[in-house]
Amino acid sequence: MQRLPHARIGGRVCCAILTVVIAGATAFPVTARQEHTLVEYQVEAAFLYNFAKFIEWPGDTFQTEKSPIVICVFGHDSMVTILDEVVRGKTIGGREVAVRRENETSNLRGCQMVFVDEQENKRLPLILGSLAGSSVLVVGESEDFAERGGTVQFYLDDNKLRFAINVDAVQRAHLNVSSRLLALARIVHDNGHPKG
């Protein structure tokens, strides 16, 4: 088993920096993580958005053809703002992308993707519990997030933002993840049973 390095992501966000133009989900070298937390958030936001492109949700997830893909941010204000900035005006597969802030686990079922802030890590079992059986992609950034049942976990590798995917969680959620995405991800399994 390979230990994922601990990802320390600073939570302070300065609203003023929102004026920075965020051009799509690419082209931001993820280096000097501690000094440039805004950039880290921006990259994470872009990754979140890009995940949506490589994932197919089961047909019954959406009420209509035009129902938006909803990304819920659990407990992190800054991320909401930044992500909202990233997805504004974008569509994926004919669907708009909406961003919502959630603090109540009971509301998470209406989301297609949930980003769990590091501070909310202690509530993870609760979150995962409330989402059991639903087709929601759960993304986190804390250590062992994926092993603990999260679907996708961010981590830093040589100062670059990478991600791990818990294929067991994917299967549980009935999500169809593109092989191209899987090819980029470190594959993990539940509770220290990594495979491949």
Partner: protein, 900 residues
Amino acid sequence: MRYSALTIRHKIQGIVMITCAVALAAATVVFTLYDRSTFLAAKTEDLVVSAQIIGANISAAIAFQDPHSAAEILGALRAKQHVVNACIYDSAGKVFAKYSRNSGQNNFSPPAVQPYGVAVTGGKIMLFQPIVLNQEVIGTIYIENDLEALRERTVRFAEIDILVLLGCLAVAFALSYRLQGAISEPIRELAQTARSVSAHEDYSIRAIKRSEDEIGFLFDQFNGMLDRIQLRDVAIQKAHDQLEVRVVERTAYLNALIENNPLAIMVIDANEHIQLCNSAFETLFQYARQEAIGKSVHGFLAIAAGPKSIAELATAENPLHLVTRRQRKDGTLVDVELHTVGLVVNHQPAGSLVIYQDISIRKQAEEAMQHAKEAAEAASRAKSEFLANMSHEIRTPMNGIMGMTELVLDTELDAEQREYLNMAKLSADSLLSLINDILDYSKIEAGKLEIDAIDFNLGDTLGDTMKTLSLRAHQKGLELAYDFQPDVPDAIVGDPGRLRQIIVNLVGNAIKFTQQGEVIVHVGVDSRTNDDIQLHFTIIDTGIGIALEKQAAIFEAFTQADGSMTRTYGGTGLGLTISSRLVEFMHGRIWVESKVGHGSRFHFTAHFGLQKTPARTVVPRDRMALRDMRVLVVDDNATNLQILLKMLSTWHTKPQGVDSGAKAITVLQEAIGLGRVFPLILLDAQMPEMDGFALAESIKRNPEWKAVTIMMLSSAGQRGDARRCRELGVAAYLTKPVRQAELLDAILTALGTKTKEKAEVPLVTRHSLRESGERLQILLVEDNTVNQMLAVRLLEKRGHAVVVAENGKVALAVLDKQSFDLVFMDVQMPVMDGLQATAAIRERERKTGRHIPIIAMTAHAMVGDRERCINAGMDNYITKPIMPEELSNILKQYSALSTV
């Protein structure tokens, strides 16, 4: 070997081979190119598909910023053998991941992103294609494929092509080699036949025809042609034989033409060697034909080496004709007339043809003639010079004769003596004019005549001339008149003496040859510029006329219209000759229009200058000024000196004579020592040792004698004398013999102009004297207006100035204001009659001591009238009606008197 020299067999084979080769080459090239383009299209398609696959696979890696994964995906290209390099750019165009087949060397530096599409350049295919994710271009893929496969394929194709080509050509060669014979063999056979025909000149050989196509037709025509040639050959041979006979005949004829030519003929070939000559050539230059032919023409007949020695080498464009000399074999020279022309044979220069004619006899005759001509000219010149020099010798005694005769005529003589002397004077006048003519002519012939250019008055000159001629005209009962066109100017520049001479000659002739009728002189203007005028004079008579055939001859020397004329009318016959020469000198011409029995019109034109300031000097005519004046006369001829001294004495001067220039200087120097002066010096121009000009020059050079008036008398007018006189400051220049009256006028004019105008002294000559000399100031006292008009006309016609007074009282008043030379006085007049007036005039003159001649005019010549008039103090009288001749006589008498 040139194509045209190939055999027909080779040509046919060559054509077949080349055609095959070109067709095959074109086909293989087309196929190769087609294969290449399809191969490229397939390759490109393959690349595009690869790029799409990789682009799809790699989109996630781009989206999640994973270049490592991207590079791994790109690594899949390793399966494609010919993909050399590949590269992924992000949406900003930055390289995201790259792949190189030669990754070890890592020398691939991706190019900048270019527009999407395929480009085949530099031996590789380059593909740029977008990478799309979620309908969004997130990057670009670049794949570079080498064309090694294409190259290999092309090489392989080329190898196959060459093999196919060679194989096909081998087959074509084999086939054509076998099949060409069908065409080439008959032609070759025909050529063989033709060759043997021409080789043996045997026109009986025939070609054997084997086919019915065009070649068969060719055989038939060939055989037909041979038939005709065979026939023609016989005819030509016959004609040729005849022609040769003719050529021999013609050549012999042409040779005979050259050989028998009386002129020496030489032909020079193109190499400048003598090619041919004839027997006249042999005779002329004494060379045998064999000696001349083949020799270089250079130096052969030449007198000396040099360019002139080969005048014979002419070109066709520049034929030469010259008279020269050529050397015979024996070295003697012969005068020849040489014609030479370049020979041109068939448009090529072929040397020269030279013809010599012996002209030694002609040359001798010419030389003899030239000598004779020169001798004759020299003799003629000598004669003319002799005559010109005779001038002096003849004029000196003539001066003596005429001067002495005039002096004697002034003395007391009885009627018989006076008549004889008058006849002697007339004879002397005739002799002088004759001598003048001859001397003029000889002067012209000797080239010594000079035309003066002095200011003169045309009207006065012509008037005076006509006046002297009118006497002769009136004696024959002829009317003599002249008229001027209004535009004829008076003040002109020229030679009035020569003009007068021409007029006298022509009018004199007209009078001479006219028995009745009139002689009229017209003067008109032909043309004029600012300072030059051409006058046209016409002398019209009603005389005997001149036959047309003689009109040309009359201007030649020693000719009158008829030899008999000389006997009938006298004269030298030189007048017209001299006139025509004088006219030429005046840049004019002379001609005549005449018809026998209908009179003649003599025309002449002459150029004159126009005076800038037509001002005339007024000459005081006071003879009293001469009284007691010292005059020095210098003349080496004792007779002439005597005559001059005598004349001067009659005018109450104090003359002193010396016979040489040296003595004159001595006398002048002595006179200064004694405090005397000689205001007037008369010089003879021709004197031994120191002549008149030298003397005048030395006198004028001395400042003490500068004021002296010098007059020059010459017996031989020399070219430039008048000009020299002007330069020396000589006041007058007269030609001997000098008449008494003329001399007096000259003296008074010279002195008068001298005292009046020192700045500009016009030279007094015979001509200026004529103009001013005989013009008398006349007072006419007459009460009857008709008589006044008649008398005034008569007097003015003779050139005199007339003032009219209607009675004696008026006459006295006029005389108070003005002096006159002569008074014509009517006897019977109201207020104061002539006798009273005369008495009053004489009374007044008693105080002054002067005496004005008074001529009485009486209506009736009654006995006692003359006595009454003389008693009253009158000098002479004429009767009314006034007869022109009588008036002229009186005027002449008193004109002379007034100057005596």
